[in-house]
Amino acid sequence: MVANLRPAFVVAWRETRDMFRDWRIIFPIVGLTIFFPFLMNFTAKQVVGYVEQYGANLLAARFIPFLLMIVGFFPITVSLVIALESFAGESERHSIEPLLSSPLTDWQLYLGKLLASLVPPILASMLGISVYLIGVYRSVGWTAQPAFLLQIFLLTAVQALVMVSAAVVISTQTTSVRAANLLSSFIVIPMALLIQAEAVVMLWGSEGILWWIILGEIFVSIMLVRAGIAHFNREELLGRELDVLNLRRSWAIFKKAFIGEAGSFKEWITVEVWKTIKKTAIPLAFSLLLLPVGLWVGFYVSDKLNLSSDMFNLSQIKEMNAGIAPGLRESGFISPGAVMYIWLHNLRVVLLATLAGVFSFGVLGVFILIAPMALLGFLAQMASFAGIDRWNFLAAFTLPHGFLEFPAMIITCALILRVGATMVTPAQDQSISDSFLRALADWLRIVLVVVTPLFLIAAVLEVYVTPYTISYFLSR
């Protein structure tokens, strides 16, 4: 194993040495590492002094760790530039071909480039954090808890890993640095949003959530590395036509995958769509497993919140019941408009979940199933506090329309997982965009033929049947 890793280290070492011959890389790394922590120290000192005047010591206590995270993050932004350049730059300078003609395996070359992009910025980041910690101790006497320090070190490392692994994927799929830089928005924007979320978490003082963020980022990094290696293609790195946007070709691939070999609509439904359903069998089984997981999350959260049973008075609920059906009729809920509203809402959720799934290798797509199931579990548990059997509650509130809506959700979740899995699965002679277009065609087949009609019928039942079953159930 070590012998297999050696060539990757050789590549990484050469790249690192080469990097340190370039002042355009050295300057920001050294500058951000040395200058920035001093600036942050100064800022921390000023902020602490300012907020203490008004007795807002809590704000000061939260602000110093937040600046620590920022100090760690800034040097790793350099890693993005290095990683974007890793393959695309070599391809542009034609120095990639001797490497591709050498006995390096795909993963050795990939790992070497990854390490070269990752290690120097992380080291710079650690150095910056150390400088900041020493400075902030000397100026305001603040010291970090070891667990928190570990959290920040890990957070910085995984943030760098996410950015680098995503940038290397982009770099392998483009043939010019310019194109790679343009595509880097797909990394910069989600990372900016993530940093904002982390800032909120830290200012809120919920450091425990940071562990989940670290875990999530590790998972996304693994998926990105896997996607990078799966779609690493020597031919494409030597190709020159890749950066040309060929909409006609993309449309042809999508159309061919969507229609398949079918000669008629009937054949398309019975043969082609059925083929896709069969291909989705494994993600479907996995999605089915997520149903009880979602419910369990709901039960767990409501138990954890330790809500008082007084909050859910059965007699109060039953009193409210008398007014439910007339109220819904008067408000115009029981109408075709409500059907359309629910149907379009569900379709919008499908689209948004797919979009989130595409950017997270299917991971965020599971929320289309887990989130509503968790909500149902939570409500069922609350109902049980009020003395209603939670399974009866679930049956009355969800079954009339749920027997169609749940399958639609499960299928959607499976489709999103499949799109995500396609991105990280090696496909012979297929670029990442070709694989994606084919998976998207499969997604559209099932969404059009199965999911959309199921949601429509479920919406009709939800408007015209479910309110009455709820009312009947509560009146018993």
Binding site: V11, R14, S95, E97, P98, S101, S102
Partner: protein
């Protein structure tokens, strides 16, 4: 050492290489000639397992280019069309890097680097980055990179391009030396005299297909007819024409010279020479008329496409 059958590569709608058959043994040099975009580089890239054939197969140094790609790449030294050096590295470090990639031990590496750099007239102790090298020096360094691991198979794309005549001679001598050392070599070049000098076999490729293949003299015979010889005399013939043997055909004549073609020069030339001397013709010299490969190349490239290998001068 290099075997290929029906080797083909299609890029979407474009057929870059279409059913190439090749065979290059140890100690043999094949020159792959053809216009730009004919498929030479694609063929070389398939033989180095960088591109995957869409049809056919190839074995290099005994390894399958698809199933044993890593072993193929370890057995091949490639001089790429663009030398692709790392501009900020000195020559020594550059070769050292590739030596490590090929798994050479430090002593062997340093020894090999020194001998290669010195052999190509480069200074092994030069600390300048290669970005400051001239084109010819860069080309020599790239060639040294291809040879660093002493591979049994060499695929060289334009090995002497951008070199001054002295350096080009140095490289050609090196290629002769490698052939003597039993290396199998494929050279892609537009330099036809060089191809003729270096190669044992020539293959001309056009639109992805090999249209002719053979040794230079055979190709010349096929395209330009039998070998032509010239006899010179030390006096005018004054209209008398010497009688030629049946298997020789007179092609041109002047006051004190004549040219003839024959398919059996080994038999006819001594016979004719003794006949001329016996009949009192004052022979000064008898030599083969040189015919350039360029004529063969141009005829082959401009021949109408039939889908078959071109069989003769047409």
């Amino acid at each position: 050492m290099i075997q290929a059958e029906d080797l083909s590569k299609q890029f979407e709608e474009f057929q870059a290489v279409d059913g190439i058959d090749l065979q290059v043994g140890a100690g043999e040099v094949l020159a792959l000639l053809g216009p730009n975009g004919a498929g030479k580089t694609t063929t070389v890239r398939m033989l180095t397992s960088v591109l995957r054939p869409t049809r056919g197969w190839a074995r290099v140094a005994g390894y399958d280019v698809v199933k044993e790609a890593v072993k193929v790449r370890a057995s091949v030294g490639v001089l790429t069309e663009q030398h692709g050096l790392y501009d900020r590295m000195p020559a020594n470090s550059y070769l050292d890097f590739f030596g490590k990639i090929y798994g050479m031990n430090p002593d062997a590496r340093q020894q090999r680097i020194r001998s290669l750099l010195e052999g190509f007239g480069l200074d092994p102790d030069d600390k300048r980055p290669t970005g400051e090298y001239s084109k010819g020096m860069r080309q020599k360094l790239a060639l040294a990179r291809a040879l660093i691991h002493d591979p049994p198979v060499l695929l060289l794309d334009e090995p002497t391009s951008a070199m001054d005549p002295e350096s080009a001679r140095l490289v050609r001598n090196a290629i002769h030396g490698l052939r003597s050392a039993n290396r199998a070599i494929i050279i892609c070049t537009h330099n036809l005299p060089e191809a003729e000098e270096l190669s044992d076999k020539i293959a001309i490729i056009r639109r992805g297909k090999i249209i002719i293949q053979g040794c230079a003299s055979d190709l010349k015979q096929r395209f330009l007819g039998p070998a032509e010889f010239e006899v010179r005399f030390n006096a005018d013939l004054n209209g008398s024409v010497p009688e030629l043997p049946e298997q020789a055909r007179l092609t041109h004549r002047g006051d004190n010279w004549l040219r003839y073609q024959t398919e059996q020069p080994q038999q006819i030339n001594p016979e004719l020479l003794s006949q001329l001397l016996a009949n009192g013709f004052p022979v000064v010299s008898l030599q083969e008329v040189s015919r350039s490969l360029e004529q063969v190349y141009l005829q082959a490239i401009n021949a109408p496409e039939t889908g078959e290998e071109i069989s003769d001068g047409g």
